[in-house]
Symmetry: C2
Subunit: 481 residues, 2 copies
């Protein structure tokens, strides 16, 4: 953990969208930990890199982060790890696409005044901070101060078919252009034609505007969205570090993207031509393009040996992976699954995920990783036996699990790092490194880390039923009892 | 374990060569557990399938098995598992190629008389037992009784370049042919020409002869080989279930194959045309050819999903492996490594193994598996942490580990199946399922399985040094102290 980054002076409130559930980067991304929370390139997750990019720029204040119930602890923990204190972590009670989420977050940002600048951005894109990037931001900020709702139009580097395009019209004083029209995702031929025109840009899904301007356009063009968002925010309740939007009010909001609801209709839309180094990492192909490739055009990450391989992506998160004498392949080895396919057809992963999801035997491979994260730390399953399993647990300093019991299993805990405070029945005792403790079936127990360093345990569970749902929580510090 | 198979009446002594160390089927085969001991297709290892093939045929007596020090417990255990009681398990003190090993084993078989028939065969080939196979054996047996040294010449099914060829000459009364000549491994063009002649067969490395005839030819053509073998057998010592050849005497034997030393020189060589279903499984390509392929010509074994894949081999021993939209690939996922390459160039695995062996970081991947086998059972490493590791141990009924101690680690044992007898210091106690025991650093201890079912434990080791070599064996039942 780093010391908090000072965002008190920033004049722009970032709104970070961190609720996406994409699994296009399977087997690394799963429903329980999608792309934005993974460290795919480098040691920080994309969400953390986004936070650090903003935290390193004095124009930004503390971010408003929009996510959902399932990712709230991930968001809080990953923000804390990089020393960013959010202005708010807003929880969407349901997925209603981007318009209601952005409207609600903008209402929260507008508590600092209608004149407040807001920068809406996804949490899972890769951006290089350089002079071109800073110049682009300057133009977007001036455009917003002119009264425009600014979009960032990435200068195309190839006839991509995975993005919508924005056609730029007349140039404004800020350096941005009035938007002439939005173009749906084109086919390859049309994409080439659009690029040849020189005035079409990729729609990046990033926006910069004055809160009041956006809300006024909402009122005019998407009344129902705004009304639902206003009620959901007004009735929101604080829960620990989170702001939980009112579920009933939010459910009434139309499910619609901010592009359809506002940007394609408003006369205020401007596009900022953005000659920046950017990737949405929307497929393994995009990950390969954005990485540091070797002389044979390969990107290898982790424990890999590449022999006579060309134009390929190989990532391993554990196993030693050897790839030999092939071209244009993607080989991905996660903790529990391996994917091998053609790199140039990397979008095929989507169909595979659908297929695995449809089969009860393989569904879990699309949903969870072997390591699960919890508000107090987490655990990884390391061995599944018959009537026993072994897990590795880690508990953050100062955190405690719930007071709980299990009907069908007993547990042996061996502390391998740090110091544990363990309650079994009515007795509380300290368990040190290389000591163990036994929790009989049905006995109330609680595990905490009273120390200053991470606590690590090996847990051996034995019993006839070892499912995660055999748990009775009697008391919990995270509102889960 | 099965009840022993009765081999008392058999008139042929099989000599099974089970000392090979090949790693051409990496990542599944490793130096510590080569191909013959793996269950690649089906539930038995190739060695066990060989034992069962012989055990199911009344012409065979108990086998003489030739192997080396390192594989002796594997051989004994796998034979026991399928209910075969070997006549002898002969340990080669050094690798001297096939001539000295076969000479020594034939001398042992000849203790039942010089007239004894001997069938020499590798332990890692796949053979289908059918009428053609039985008819071929009948001819070979008649040829041996005629006084020939019979070789089995497999009827070629393609112009293979991986085998030597045998040219058949005049037909003998038995149905075998006198050998005209042996041909070295040809190139593809020459292989095609040889096949076109119709009288050339693959050299399978299997032989059938009368012990006395072979030893007489040895005396005439390979005197040094025979003399070294005679001394090594005469001075051999019995060690538990094993016959350990005398190292000093055996070391004097020339390192030479039985083909070069005897068969290419003798006038008694005969070839039995063998129209049998046979594979040496010498490469992944051969495994693919010998397996039950699907309509797309794929062979998938284990936890695999194959999508739009053609002419490929995919094997998984753990991870779920998805292979998507490729042709002619081999994807192999073992417990700790993944290999992806072109199936039609499957011999490239050899170069990869050399490369991994040369690097101290990856050498272990060619030598050992995550599961190690010991005379008492075995263990698999399931988690390597910083200053701790977790292993899964299994102990066969009635077996005991050595009385031992470790200077640098303590151990926690949790019994998850069966019953353990544990000695710590001077105290011996019974540890039952779901009970645990702690072994402090430096304390003498011993683990045994007094029960009738497999004992399984989870072991958590903690300490500053966790290498396998931190062990002092005070007493051992397997001659290792």
């Amino acid at each position: 953990m780093t010391s908090p980054i000072d965002t008190a002076q920033g004049r722009i409130t970032p709104i970070i969208l961190a609720g996406g559930t994409g699994t296009r980067l399977w087997p690394m991304s799963r429903t329980a930990r999608p792309k934005q929370f993974l460290a795919l390139v480098g040691t920080q997750s994309l969400f953390q890199e986004t936070l650090l990019r903003l935290g390193g720029d004095t124009r930004y204040g503390a971010p408003v982060i929009v996510t959902n119930e399932e990712y709230r602890f991930l968001v809080a923990e990953q923000a804390q790890e990089v020393g960013i204190v959010p202005a708010s972590i807003v929880l969407e009670p349901a997925m209603r696409n981007t318009a209601p989420a952005i409207a609600a977050a903008t209402l929260i940002a507008a508590r600092d005044g209608e004149e407040r600048l807001v920068h809406v951005l996804p949490s899972d894109h890769l951006v290089t901070v350089d002079d071109a990037y800073r110049a682009t931001l300057d133009i977007a900020e001036r455009a917003a101060l002119e009264g425009s709702l600014a979009t960032f139009g990435i200068t195309p580097t190839e006839p991509a078919t995975g993005f919508g395009y924005i056609e730029a019209g007349e140039k404004l004083a800020s350096g941005a252009h009035r938007v002439k029209r939005f173009v749906e995702k084109p086919d390859a031929e049309r994409a080439a034609a659009l690029i040849a025109m020189g005035d079409h840009y990729w729609n990046s899904g990033m926006f910069l505007f004055r809160a009041g301007d956006f809300l006024a356009e909402c009122a005019a063009l998407a009344t129902e969205v705004l009304e639902a968002a206003e009620t959901a925010v007004a009735r929101a309740c604080e829960d620990l570090d989170f702001l939980r939007l009112d579920a009933e009010a939010f459910a009434v909001a139309p499910e619609i993207s901010v592009d359809y609801a506002i940007f394609e209709k408003t006369a205020l839309a401007a596009v900022v031509p953005s000659p920046i180094v950017w990737s949405d990492l929307g497929s393994w192909d995009a990950v390969w393009k954005s990485g540091a490739r070797d002389a044979d055009n390969n990107l290898g990450i982790g424990n890999v040996t590449l022999n006579g391989l060309t134009r390929s992506l190989v990532i391993s998160q554990g196993h030693h992976v050897v790839v030999d004498g092939l071209d244009d392949v993607v080989v991905l080895a996660s903790e529990d699954a391996v994917y091998v396919g053609r790199l140039s057809e990397a979008q095929a992963v989507g169909a595979v995920v659908k297929q695995l999801k449809a089969d009860p035997q393989t569904r879990h491979l699309t949903e969870i990783h072997r390591t699960s994260y919890r508000p107090w730390g987490g655990y990884a399953s390391v061995l599944d036996g018959e009537r026993f399993q072994v897990k590795r647990l880690f508990v953050h300093p100062g955190k405690r699990l719930s007071l709980q019991k299990h009907f069908h299993r007993s547990e042996h805990w061996i502390v391998v790092r740090g110091t544990a405070e363990v309650q079994v029945g009515d007795t509380v005792r300290t368990v040190r490194e290389n000591e163990s403790v036994y929790i009989p079936q049905g006995e109330l127990h609680r595990l905490g880390n009273p120390g200053k360093i991470l606590l690590e345990l090996v847990e051996v569970q034995t019993g006839s039923y070892l499912g995660e749902d055999d748990i009775v929580r009697v008391e919990d510090e995270f509102g889960r009892s």
